[in-house]
Amino acid sequence: MSPKTLYDKIWDAHVAHEADDGTCLLYIDRHLVHEVTSPQAFEGLRMAGRKVRAPEKTIAVPDHNVPTTAGREDPAQMTEESRIQVEALDKNAKEFGVHYYPVSDVRQGIVHIVGPENGWTLPGMTVVCGDSHTATHGAFGALAHGIGTSEVEHVLATQTLIQKKSKNMKVEITGKLKPGVTAKDITLAVIGETGTGGGTGYVIEYCGEAIRDLSMEGRMTVCNMAIEGGARAGLIAPDETTFDYCKGRPHAPKAGAWEQALEYWKTLYTDEGAHFDKVVTLKGEDIQPVVTWGTSPEDVLPITGVVPAPEDFEGGKVEAARRSIEYMGLTPGQKLTDIEIDTVFIGSCTNGRIEDMRAAAEVLKGKKIKEGMRAMIVPGSGLVRAQAEEEGLADIFREAGFEWRLAGCSMCLAMNPDQLSENERCASTSNRNFEGRQGYKGRTHLVSPAMAAAAALTGKLTDIRELM
């Protein structure tokens, strides 16, 4: 048998039907559902008199729209439209009999944090969700990607997706990371290298010593932003780190089934000599703490850099850079560490897990944020929040001057009341710095949790290494 990549293996194990032209029906093991991209899909089922084919493999949780302030059970905290979406999910989950974590459940949170946390996401699975950051689950060696609402309806009805296979891309991060450099810096540095379209048509496998050395949470941060590089999915081969994380989770296999699963999971790696259509290699020691300066996630520079000039680019990017620099209110040649910040957001499916909370707390411990700074930490789930409180992290945040919120997507996409005002500038641990992403005319700089915490203290984009 010819050698296979990890992606080839998972793909082959899920083809339920293949047509002569290579169009496949790919079987879906886990379907995650949230309130924004599902109402039209459930309505479609209802109108056609269809059922959810595998409700036991379907997990729903409201996250995008929900307020993250105390007392949010009060419907008055939500806009009428948001309330209708959340209520629609309540109703649809009940009517179609899928697993559901309502707002009142301590396990509620961002769908991509809830899935892994509860053991729904396991190695070798196919996982989809009507959300592009489904790529997160690739950290387990699961083939996971975002889909549109029509495809949500298709998966609900048939538990399959119509797909053609993507190409294989390898992203290798060799060696060790330097102090102050995190998973977020890796994933941003890769996008800086490949561009936001560099992964289009590919599934990325991340590998190399620096990836192996990451915890599961760090791996989730890396895979989360595979989509920002344009890839359909990002994958990391499962290993002992993965198995240790999964073991004992509520929906992970138990007892005898665990041994059987483990035996299978250990076959999930890229064979020696397997073919990759594209390879990108970065040296771990070359990666620095990074920050975005523009309005595309590919606009990445080391924190020691300066704002570029449009003429530094070629082709269509010249005009895009000109537009970005103007939108962001920056001047070419300006040092990135001179950029003043008025808001800090720590959270999201990229960086809303317990290790992210710990990284921020380490920087903030015993310190106060700059006067006038608006700073919020939004845990990715109720369980992350509970854990952070138990570890005393929440006290550190509150004493530093941060707002300590309830779980949700919050200011990552600002669908709930957490938004930037016009021209407000935010150091954010989220994943997108698009125009208007965090609020109309709001300005976003993407950073790691430690760098976000550092910016909250100094009031400027800050090289975390100077505070270490």
Partner: protein
């Protein structure tokens, strides 16, 4: 789904690269639970001032492009979020065809599910179409999916590639779910086999 038929229409030029789904339809319009009515909000933040008045320089606000049915766009169109509201908004506005050098994967798939045709072409050919689009309302292009051809206002014919299955679905207005359900026995068989091999899933 509606059938995709050959048509001649106005093409609007949008040469900006990396036009993302947040630009196409900002999140504040994602709160609807319907599939329609998004056209008026298409490109909202580029198209309107905060007070709701139009920004005259924006291409779709210009008299010659208000009825555009084709968009000629910069590289990596539709990147970002999976929101199908992006193709819904384009469709609702009246855009049936988008041409670019490349498309983000999820947006590309979502478009076909709504009877729209995204066409990826090499830079030189996109340049020809962009120049043609810049001529304005008199420059009507013709898109023929059956023949896989775009004809410019000058009569220049540009061939394009399209996946055979997707083409078939567009031309016949076929509903994916109905087609897949015809293969239910394959799905049943897969489920039985996978369930035996990986019972923990």
């Amino acid at each position: 789904m509606k059938k995709f038929e050959t048509f001649s229409g106005i093409a609007a030029p949008m040469p900006l690269v990396n036009i993302d789904t947040d630009m196409i339809i900002p999140k504040r319009f994602l709160k609807s639970i319907q599939r329609t009515g998004f056209g008026v909000s298409l490109f909202d933040e580029m198209r309107y001032n905060r007070d709701g008045t139009e920004i005259p320089d924006f291409v779709l606000n210009k008299a010659q492009y208000r009825e555009a049915q084709i968009l000629i766009a910069g590289d990596n169109f539709g990147c970002g979020s999976s929101r199908e509201h992006a193709p819904w908004a384009l469709d609702d506005f009246g855009i049936k065809v988008i041409v670019s050098t490349s498309f983000a994967d999820i947006f590309f798939n979502n478009s076909f599910k709504n009877g729209m045709l995204p066409i990826a072409l090499p830079q030189e050919q996109v340049d020809i179409l962009m120049a043609d689009a810049e001529k304005g309302a008199n420059a009507r292009m013709t898109v023929d999916l059956e023949a896989q051809e775009i004809t410019t206002s000058d009569g220049e014919v540009i061939k394009f590639e399209v996946d055979a299955f997707k083409k078939h679905c567009l031309l016949n207005g076929l509903d994916d779910i109905g087609l897949t359900m015809e293969k239910e026995t394959s799905i049943d068989a897969y489920e039985a086999k996978a369930g035996a091999e990986r019972p923990w899933v």
